[in-house]
Symmetry: C2
Subunit: 134 residues, 2 copies
DNA sequence: GTTACTGCAAAGCTTTTGCATCCCT
DNA sequence: AGGGATGCAAAAGCTTTGCAGTAAC
């Protein structure tokens, strides 16, 4: 945690709590999820603080924000290259680690500078599939 | 247009205007874009009507909704399998037609039923790249 | 002492909903 | 005639912003 120390970046207790919650978190939480958890320790925590911190952490490259869930933004502390699989029913998101060799056709690439890519798989998770059978 | 006729689906002038605007549209418009255009012909048009129609058209499989732009939902009349390239600056979206062979690793596939996938490429469009040089 | 952060409230946007009226079929 | 669609207003979410007070550095 200490290695996050840098100029113009203060390690406030609230920020540390948010970073601790995110660290290694595989649930791709929303701002609400983060707020609800950190509020247990900091009852005065506000959404403004959550959003401010998420934006700051994203700017610094410590987390990335996902638009895979159309209903709300999700956050991912894993900034390494990977993809996502979302359940269309419960919106659960799981990581997909695989180095897919995808690239846009050359004629588009020449005019449009491609900086990256992300694959979203969608379907039905095990729990929701079980419910379907009922 | 007439071939959209079916039971429980009325061809109102407003709906036809929305469908005409979308037909062959490659701009991946938002509800606002659609509203602003159709309002020229139907000054009484409301957002409720736009959203109602988009949802109905989506249910019937005539259009698809995209979550590639984190700021607002975009709509695409092209429901064939293709992918998208978005400009991080101006949020312009262009189609990428290519049949990428991507699939989740088998161990995930067995528990999670994968129904489809979508690739989003992101980068800088020609216009925005030009501005960068200034 | 500076500078950045917190927390509250208010506002901003996008999208949804309730409901009376309307009109396509 | 009947059932879906329209349009208005209000509400509901999610996210951002302004600002005064506070705390990290």
């Amino acid at each position: 945690m200490e290695h996050y120390r840098e100029k113009g970046f203060k390690l406030t207790p609230q920020r540390i709590a948010i970073m601790k919650f995110l660290e290694g978190n595989k649930n791709h939480p929303s701002a609400e999820d983060i707020y609800q958890d950190v509020r247990k320790t900091f009852p005065t925590m506000s959404f403004a603080t959550v959003y401010n911190n998420l934006e700051t952490l994203r700017e610094k490259g410590h987390i990335s924000s996902l638009s895979i869930d159309p209903e709300r933004r999700r956050y991912d502390p894993d900034t390494s290259c990977h993809h996502h699989l979302i359940c269309l029913k419960c919106k659960m998101v799981v990581d997909v680690y695989a180095d897919f060799k995808v690239h846009v056709p050359d004629e588009q690439k020449t005019s449009f500078e491609v900086l990256g890519s992300h694959i979203e798989f969608y379907g039905t998770c095990p729990e929701c599939k079980k419910e379907e059978g009922i």
